[in-house]
């Protein structure tokens, strides 16, 4: 009887894994099929170039995706850097300097923050950060790459803090006693043991965070300005998820415009796959 149960459990696990892989493959294939009309009609040179704009509704429409790709990467990289600086510091503070009870309360709060809908972050960004930038940087609207990066950075903080904390805790549990026992200070331990041991895990976490940032839609859309132009820090911009969410609903089913959006999302998916792969490779080589 136990053997039958074991086999059923094993079978269910295999089936679930199979279904997940099948669904992912289906999405990937679907995106490729839907992208073919745009690639055939416009060509890869027309979809990614330095000259044209994303201007899909003119008399002679152009479908250059490069500004949106650059906007996505620019915003995501900047957001990840913001989140990393504050996230790592917060993780160190929570693990080494705050009393455990107090740190646990903050960890619960961070878990809660991770569950807040992105539209709330976008709304807060729009009503506080955008007017602030408008006033202090003399901008025309305040909606810009910097605003999007800051909002996105705040959204990434819980993930970065929890990733850093997990790695720090592993090293701390294993080596801090030995280090204290040798009369070594917390700070020396953090610099020489913690940082050197977890740098790969942290990097893997950052790459995963970058993946999350790249896929974020609503909050970014609310504060970035949504202009498909090459991005500047204090200028408007657009991201691939943003352009998709804004334009998907208003396009006819068989239009090239729609197919071009599928190409954009295929590119997004490929970037994400590369990031996940890099993250897994980094994770596998830690020194803990």
């Amino acid at each position: 009887m136990i053997k039958v149960k074991d086999r059923v459990l094993k079978g269910m696990v295999y089936i679930s894994l199979g279904v997940t892989i099948f669904l992912f493959a289906l999405i990937f294939i679907y995106l490729i099929i839907k992208s073919i009309p745009a690639i055939n009609n416009i060509g890869l040179g027309g979809l990614i170039n330095l000259k044209e704009k994303w201007y899909p509704i003119g008399a002679t429409p152009t479908f250059n995706l490069l500004p949106a790709i650059c906007g996505t990467l620019y915003t995501s990289f900047l957001a990840t850097i913001f989140a990393f600086i504050f996230g790592l510091s917060a993780a160190l503070m929570l693990n080494f300097y705050l009393p455990e009870k107090f740190a646990n309360i903050i960890f619960s709060f961070l878990d809660m923050l991770a569950g807040v809908p992105s539209v709330v972050f976008g709304f807060i960004g729009l009503s506080t950060l955008v007017p602030f930038l408008l006033k202090h940087f003399n901008l025309s609207t305040g909606q810009c790459i910097l605003a999007a990066s800051i909002v996105l950075g705040v959204m990434l903080l819980p993930f970065i803090i929890s990733t850093c904390s997990e790695s720090i805790k592993l090293v701390r549990d294993r080596y801090e006693g030995m280090s204290k026992n040798a009369g070594i200070s917390k700070e020396y331990f953090i610099i020489h043991i913690v940082f050197t041991s977890i740098k790969r895990s942290i990097l893997a976490g950052l790459v995963m965070a970058l993946g999350r940032a790249i896929g974020e839609t609503m909050a970014v859309m609310m504060v970035i300005g949504n202009s498909a132009i090459f991005p500047k820090l204090l200028g408007r911009g657009q991201t691939i998820p943003g352009i998709t969410a804004l334009e998907m609903g208003s396009i006819g089913i068989n239009e090239i415009h729609l197919s071009a959006l599928y190409v954009a999302n295929l590119i997004l998916l490929i970037i994400l796959l590369i990031l996940i792969l890099v993250s897994q490779l980094l994770k596998g080589n830690d020194r803990i």
Partner: protein, 272 residues
Amino acid sequence: MFIEIITYRVVGCSNIKIRKDGSLTVANIIVKNLNVFYGKKQVLKNIDTKINSGRITAIIGQSGCGKSTFLKSINRIVEEENGRINGHIYLDEEDILKEDSQILRRKIGLVFQQPEAFPMSIEKNLSYIMNYHFNYKKLELKERIKTYLQMVGLYGEVKEELSNPAKNLSGGQKQRLAIARCLCLNPEVLLLDEPCSALDLKNTLDIEKMLLELKKKYTIVLVTHNLSQAKRIADDVIFMSEGEIVEEGSSKDIFSQPKSRKMREYIEYMEG
């Protein structure tokens, strides 16, 4: 080179006797009315004893009797685990409970039960500690690494792979590296919490041989469950039960003529 005392110098808040080679002198440990609490639970009760310098003192007793807590009180690691210490522990004349814990742990090294190495190379496992506490120049640092590894009988085995990760060492080698890490602090006292419990017989005998050599230079306190080990290497024995010292004395007397019923029962139980 470990014998001559040339000067006294002030390190932090304490006066430490310094040998010519920079190491510290061997000291007696005097414990007076020591009580240790974890929360409301009293783990050690009214401990009074003297641990003599230059000898190996084994602390024996059933699991949970407070042996390790006693050991961890001596270098105040108990406080890091949210324990509370009342009473007095003197290192010769200095009350260690009044000392800065970082300076104290330079004088009293503790080796844990599980052989563990820092996630770095073999030589960096030692230089990590020495660079923090001392200002040795590169050449002197290398010489000292060699000396300490020789003292624990590890240098011959690893001299070609000093820059390799220490995690690749065997359990016995890691434990000897842990002892070398303690020695590089130039301590007066070496505390060892069941250092051989995870090791095979060969590695156990290697470490025992090394401890017999080291006792000429350090006061050694060893917690062990292994009565044969205590008989083989301990000069003095402290037998503990339920957080109290039940019996203490020279190893020879304790094992040949135990006075208390608990000690007799413990010996019978351990020897089957």
